[in-house]
Amino acid sequence: MTDTLLLISLCAVAATATAAVLVRDPARQALVLSVLGLALAVLFTVLQAPDVALSQLAVGSALTPLLILLSVRKVRRRGRREEDGR
């Protein structure tokens, strides 16, 4: 039972991590990264490391995607202004 759970969560991590690399749009990448954080949190919980899982959930699924989205917004805003100025 535990082995099955472990296998499923390992496969989920591998799949979402590959997806995070293959998606090229940064805004979408942030969302995939958040799903990857969730998959990693599940994997850590299955491996009986709830402390690490909590950190992963808070930082990997919430904070990092948020920072990426904010950076994307800043860059896009600057691009739009430059287009207007021309």
Partner: protein
């Protein structure tokens, strides 16, 4: 550097890593075994100081100095971000227009805000008893505040979040950790030694000696640091614009 040369360097690096990795693997303990020499010693040391969460005992008692280093890394990186993302002379602040928030989003965000805040504080307060602790709870508290940005708008968030107070809180959290460490030195043993106060009763909030205190300082530092970090990013993304015509 040509593409061919780069591929050769990559191949050499990958082969070297593969060889060392394969050589190291046979010496590893088997996956998922029930006995682990370090684990057994850590559990014994945690129980001796009546700390129920062994991970908290490792972080704030047995390896408290490492945690000071980690806390300082966060402190320094947030400080660096504040310096890098400050408003420069060519930039001006444009107050953002109030945003229209769909009613369901507003309702759920404002409903979840107090729940997330309490969960975060609970995770900080019970760090010595159950999984979690200052770092995890601090991040939850800080991100919970930002549900206000999703549920209302940036001005509402700015009203409940005076960044200056959080900057002081960040520094105070970092400083309090050092002071608690020095208290160990003054009490006659060593820096960050868990001998300052009694160990309390096992599995209650007041247990583990200075573990819950160090945990609180880390919680305060992390919550304030994340708020300051997000504030700088939000300022850049929402408010600060480059001066045109330069």
């Amino acid at each position: 550097m040509s593409r061919r040369l780069r591929m050769w360097i990559l191949a050499v690096g990958a082969l070297g890593f593969a060889a060392l990795f394969c050589a190291a693997c046979p010496r590893l303990p088997a996956f998922g075994g029930d006995s682990h020499p370090y684990g057994e010693r850590a559990v014994r040391a945690a129980l001796a100081h009546r700390t129920a969460n062994v991970v908290a005992a490792v972080n704030f008692d047995q390896r408290a100095f490492d945690t000071l280093g980690e806390e300082s890394i966060l402190f320094a990186s947030v400080l660096g971000t504040v310096v890098l993302l400050r408003q420069t002379r060519e930039e001006r602040e444009v107050p953002p227009a109030p945003a229209r928030v769909p009613l369901p989003v507003r309702r759920y965000a404002l409903l979840l805000l107090p729940v997330a805040l309490v969960v975060g504080l609970y995770v900080v307060a019970h760090g010595q008893l159950s999984p979690g602790g200052g770092f995890q709870g601090g991040v939850v508290v800080a991100t919970a505040l930002h549900l206000l940005y999703i549920g209302a708008d940036y001005r509402a968030l700015e009203r409940v979040r005076p960044v200056g107070v959080y900057e002081i809180g960040d520094a105070a959290g970092e400083g309090a950790y050092l002071v608690l460490g020095l208290a160990g030195l003054v009490a006659g043993s060593s820096f960050l030694a868990n001998t300052v106060i009694g160990y309390g009763t096992f599995n209650t909030l007041a247990s583990g000696g200075i573990v819950p205190l160090l945990n609180m300082t880390v919680g305060m530092e992390v919550a304030c640091a994340v708020v300051v970090l997000l504030a700088r990013f939000l300022d850049q993304a929402v408010e600060i614009e480059e001066e045109s015509g330069r």
